[in-house]
Amino acid sequence: MACLLLALFFVPQAVAHTPLCSCSDEGDGTILCEGGFSDGSSGAGVKMQVLDAAGKVITEGKMNEDSEFTFKRPEGDYTVIYDAGPGHIVKVPSSEIKE
């Protein structure tokens, strides 16, 4: 159990691997983002932000235990930030988020 907790705790700092994030429009007014790392490890606990066109944070949160993050689709253009630490940030622009 302790090992598991430790593992979960350390996942966001798995800096040796490439961070990955992919989002899709669920068609019900919400956007679902999934995250992880190139070695297959989970992105649970990774900091998530949604910025509007001006760069202002409109939604903030963390990847849940299933390595997913859901938010209400904002009006206009926006960018999703998957922030797994310095040098391990993925930006997903709304133009790439499709149904």
């Binding site: 990955l20 994030c21 992919s22 899709s24 999934e34 790392f37 070695d39 297959g40 499709k98």
Partner: protein
């Protein structure tokens, strides 16, 4: 006497003309990109001779000419299987020499990671060999680079399958592709594997006429390699594009309608150029 000789000669000529080169059959599950640009893709399921874009068979045709429906078609993602049999639509696919009964499926790749599509057709009767052939086929698409399923066996409903040891969608031209030939989860020692290059692009429900390469001789149209005692094979990929691997008779000694059944395990992998 002279007449008899002539008849013999003529029959020989006719036999040769009819037999033609014995290029390999390959069941394809085709879409242009193993890492698709859109999450909605169109799969073409065609039983053909991919190097030559040659004779395309009617999937599931028995010796009486009756067509039997596919046995299994599905998707595995994050360890979960989804039955997609009902999403198969019958199409006619045109090769350079004929048209054959094939299928298509419009599918959505939902979620980051690997999406394995697998297909088990009803056995096809090959008259020239008087045997049935069944190609249990799989292909792997990836979304957003996350590795989730590519090295996991699909298992049931695939009786035989090739389990990759290298990501089938992350190959540069010149890389080696390795796989394990398995039957009901166990390696098949010394398996014989036919390898063919998809030498013609697919446009709509047809092969385009133009070939990408020309083979200097027949042994390079269908290459044959062998697995080792652990069922493992390796193949250096010489050119970008789709490559098919068919492990012949991976299912062992089987019969269908009283005839020999060659139950083969097929996988398709795609290499891309470094540029």
């Amino acid at each position: 006497m002279k007449m008899k000789k002539l008849v013999l000669l003529l029959s020989l000529v006719v036999a040769f003309a009819l037999s033609g080169p014995a290029y390999a059959h390959f069941q394809m599950i085709y879409s242009p990109d193993s890492v698709p640009k859109s999450n909605k893709i169109d799969l073409k399921l065609v039983f053909t001779h991919p190097f030559e874009a040659g004779h395309t068979m009617d999937i599931g045709k028995d010796e009486k000419g009756n067509i039997h429906p596919p046995i299994a078609f599905g998707e595995m993602h994050k360890g979960k299987q989804k039955d997609l049999l009902k999403d198969l639509k019958s199409i006619s696919f045109t090769s350079l020499t004929n048209s054959g009964k094939a299928y298509e499926a419009k599918v959505k790749l939902k979620g980051m990671g690997d999406h394995i599509f697998y297909f088990v057709p009803a056995p096809y009767y090959e008259g020239s060999e008087d045997i049935y052939i069944q190609h249990c086929t799989k292909v792997i698409f990836n979304v957003a680079g996350a590795p989730t399923d590519w090295d996991t066996p699909v298992g049931d409903p695939l009786p035989v399958e090739i389990v990759p040891l290298d990501k089938p969608y992350a190959l540069w031209t010149g890389n080696v592709f390795r796989g394990v030939v398995t039957c009901k989860g166990e390696p098949v020692p010394d398996a014989e594997i036919e390898v063919e290059y998809l030498n013609h692009d697919v446009e709509g429900n047809a092969f385009v006429k133009e070939a990408k390469v020309e083979a200097p001789h027949d042994a390079l149209v269908t290459q044959t390699i062998k697995a080792d005692k652990n069922g493992i094979f390796a193949f250096g990929i010489p050119r970008a594009g789709w490559w098919g691997f068919a492990a012949l008779g991976a299912g062992g000694d089987l019969k269908h309608n009283g005839k020999e059944l060659s139950q083969d395990a097929v996988i398709w992998v795609q290499a891309l150029d470094m540029k």
